[in-house]
């Protein structure tokens, strides 16, 4: 396991130059490429096939629809990508997402500004709690975020009178417009997701923060020995994940103009699936933000296609998603093993 992690840190993750410098053969280079860009290729393939097979798939309305539905999951998955690259995991995002939406509707009773700031503050606080417990308390992220999954859901139930109150957002308020309005044909949440992903790409590939995230995921011990502020970075990653989940929940609530309490159950699984399908290793130390976007779109396109077929029950969607996830990780495992064999030679 350590050998695997160290291999990832010594090359093959950040960009093509280091891969070439590491002296890979053509086959290894190809394996690494499939790992990093495979999801994009499959996405393109699925889109092409669907466009040919279904008349209603390649329409502007449908593309707008898919983009809108993807945007919320994409924002959640962005924060998750950073956490997973650092070798952690955040199971609390589904609950935090729901909590964000409910708090937004709660704050909107006062003003739009409060409706935006309240969920960000509380969800950021939960992310910070995760981060402190994982980074400074040195507790297993899996369990810490499992606890906050329960805790955030409990908090949500408490402020909605055990889930009996669904607060509506006033029509025409700024936040409601942000959720429902469009710009150049695409909804504002889509644009927000696009901007966040652009920031995410730069953050991961071009900043010290991003590089240290990858280093921590590759080997926490090595990162500590190198003098990186491991605990502080780790804490910030969970804070970021809490914030993105809260923001996504806020936007989703604004889109539907109500703070629905039952949303977000199992959302963490979709987000993790999208990140893993996007080529990010769950062991940490390697991954791309762009891959996550492709993973999210792939999940939503598959969902869209199953809806298009019509005769298939919607239950097949989760079957296909699950099967897809299993296949992707199996291929990933095979590739990284082939890659390791190549490097040992």
């Amino acid at each position: 396991m350590t050998a695997l992690k160290q291999d990832h840190i010594s090359g093959g993750d950040s960009d093509d130059i280091s891969v070439a410098a590491a002296g890979m053969t053509r086959a290894e280079w190809l394996a690494a490429l499939v790992q990093r860009r495979g999801s994009l290729a499959v996405l393109a393939l699925v889109v092409v096939i669907a466009s040919i097979s279904f008349g209603h798939f390649a329409t502007i309305a449908n593309a707008q629809n898919i983009a809108m539905q993807s945007s919320f999951l994409a924002i959640v998955a962005l924060g998750m990508t950073f956490v997973i690259i650092s070798g952690g995991i955040d199971l609390s995002v589904g609950s935090v997402y729901a909590l964000g939406g409910v708090l937004a509707a709660y704050g909107m009773q006062e003003s739009s500004l409060l409706g935006l700031l309240l969920p960000l503050a509380v969800c950021g606080g939960i992310g910070l709690l995760n981060g402190v417990l994982v980074a400074y308390g040195r507790l297993a992220p899996f369990i810490v975020t499992l606890a906050t999954l329960l805790g955030a859901r409990g908090l949500l139930q408490a402020i909605t009178d055990e889930g009996n109150v669904t607060r509506l957002m006033p029509e025409g308020a700024f936040l409601t417009k942000l959720g429902q309005g469009t710009f150049l044909g695409l909804g504002w949440p889509v644009w927000i997701a696009v901007v966040l992903f652009a920031i995410g790409v730069v953050l991961l590939q071009r900043t010290r923060f991003g590089h240290s995230t990858v280093a921590i995921g590759g080997s926490r011990e090595a990162a500590t020995l190198m003098g990186l502020p491991v605990a502080r970075r780790t804490m910030l990653l969970y804070l970021g994940s809490g914030l993105t989940a809260g923001l996504a929940g806020t936007l989703a609530a604004a889109y539907s103009a109500s703070g629905v309490t039952i949303v977000g159950v199992g959302l963490e699984l979709d987000a993790i699936a999208a990140v893993v399908i996007g080529g990010t290793l769950l062991t940490g130390g390697a991954g791309t933000v762009g891959g996550t976007l492709a993973g999210v779109l792939l999940l939503k396109v598959i969902q869209n296609i199953i809806n298009q077929i019509g005769t298939l029950s919607s239950h097949y969607q989760s079957v296909v998603s699950g099967a897809f996830l299993a296949i992707v990780v199996a291929v990933q495992a095979y590739l990284s093993r082939a890659y390791l064999r190549g490097r040992r030679r």
Partner: protein, 380 residues
């Protein structure tokens, strides 16, 4: 280390190993004094019946966590078992239950193959089935809730077995005595210092004596009514405990969890052990699904087993099994499940909303892992 540090470390270790039992004793004490209608047979039965499905799933989860893995798919496997049940009830109860169990075993086999042969991390491998399994269950059931009319199955859910009290107590005492001799420091020291082992002949004589006692009690003794579900959970707990502590497989499992590479070098069948473990977890989840269906008197594949993976992991972790593998605490897992149930029951009986129970449970999970921190090395 200074004296104080040593003492603090010892205290923490004691709390880690026995905290769950101490918490149960404290909570029961609190309830006996402050809660009305707590110490009644009806309440005891209700609580035990409620905790049984979680407990059964947690037993399998403890085994998987002992191999340094985790099985997130248990809730979906429960749903699959529940969905299959009504499809074959027409052929009788036994074939229907048999097929549900086979389905559970197949799910476990899939998980085990992905983990042991393909080499995927357990979280992702079982996540795939968690996502896909419930969809599959809904496809089987055509997305519908089906009422169960089979009398035998309904009886399994609500019926009670009349168990004679004296042999039950005798059997429990015998098991406890045996466990004390074989598995505690006190018993081992005793055996070591006296240089004597308990002779098989002696055990057989004791066994015959107990049997005689049982026959006498059966004909005359007092009986108590135990719900079938509780009986099944208890038997499964004993079986899993036996499996871990008394069989080659159990030793292999713990060894693989402790150090997979070393186990492979030592010639243990690592793959087979891992696959068997996931199959057992799948089958236990299927049993829990059947029981939950019988209790609900309906097969509800969209809801059954929801978030059970979390409850099961909680029970295992609170019970003191480290997430880092290499150790399985079956009794601790039972206690962990009981503790979480007791907490929820206590809060509800004092009219606190379920949301508070959730927040308290979250805090307890964090406290439990915090206590384990020193052992597992913590962190990522």
């Amino acid at each position: 280390m200074t004296d104080v540090a040593v003492r603090r470390d010892t205290a923490r270790r004691w709390l880690r190993d026995n905290g769950v039992y101490a918490a149960i004793v404290l909570l029961i004490g609190y309830n006996l004094i402050f809660t009305d209608n707590f110490a009644t047979v009806a309440n005891l039965n209700t609580q035990l019946v409620q905790v049984a499905p979680v407990l059964i799933v947690a037993l399998g989860m403890a085994l998987v966590i002992g191999t340094e893995g985790v099985d997130l798919s248990v809730g979906s496997v429960m749903a699959i078992a529940a969905a299959i049940l009504p499809l074959y009830l027409g052929y009788g109860l036994a074939p229907a239950i048999g097929l549900a169990l086979v389905a559970g075993a197949l799910c476990g086999l899939l998980n085990g193959t992905l983990v042991a042969v393909v080499g995927i991390q357990p979280i992702v491998a079982t996540l795939a089935l968690l996502v896909g399994g419930r969809g599959l269950a809904l496809v089987f059931a055509d997305g519908q809730l089906k009422n169960i009319n089979n009398a035998e199955l309904l009886d399994l859910g609500t019926g009670k077995a009349s168990v004679p009290l004296i042999p039950l107590v005798a059997a429990v005492l015998a098991v406890v005595a045996w466990a004390l001799v074989r598995h505690t420091t006190v018993g081992r020291t005793q055996v070591a210092t006296t240089g004597r082992t308990v002779r098989p002949v002696l055990l057989i004589v004791c066994g015959i004596g107990l049997l005689l006692l049982a026959v006498i009690a059966l004909s005359t003794g007092t009986r108590i009514n135990v719900p079938f579900i509780v009986l099944i959970a208890a038997v499964l707990a004993v079986l899993v405990w036996f499996l871990v502590r008394q069989t080659t497989f159990g030793r292999q499992l713990v060894s693989v969890g402790g150090n997979r590479a070393a186990s492979a070098l030592a010639g243990l069948p690592v793959r087979r052990v891992l696959m068997t473990t996931y199959v057992i977890s799948g089958m236990l989840a299927a049993i829990a699904g059947i029981i939950a269906t019988a209790r609900l008197t309906a097969s509800d594949p969209s809801r059954i087993g929801e978030l059970f993976e979390l409850s099961a992991i909680t029970a295992v972790v609170v019970g003191g099994t480290p997430l880092s593998g290499g150790r399985v605490r079956v009794l601790g897992t039972v206690a962990g499940a009981l503790l979480m149930q007791l907490i929820a029951a206590t809060l509800i009986k004092h009219n606190l909303p379920p949301s508070t129970a959730q927040i308290v449970q979250a805090a307890i999970i964090v406290a439990a892992v915090y206590l384990q921190r020193s052992r597992s090395g913590g962190g990522q």
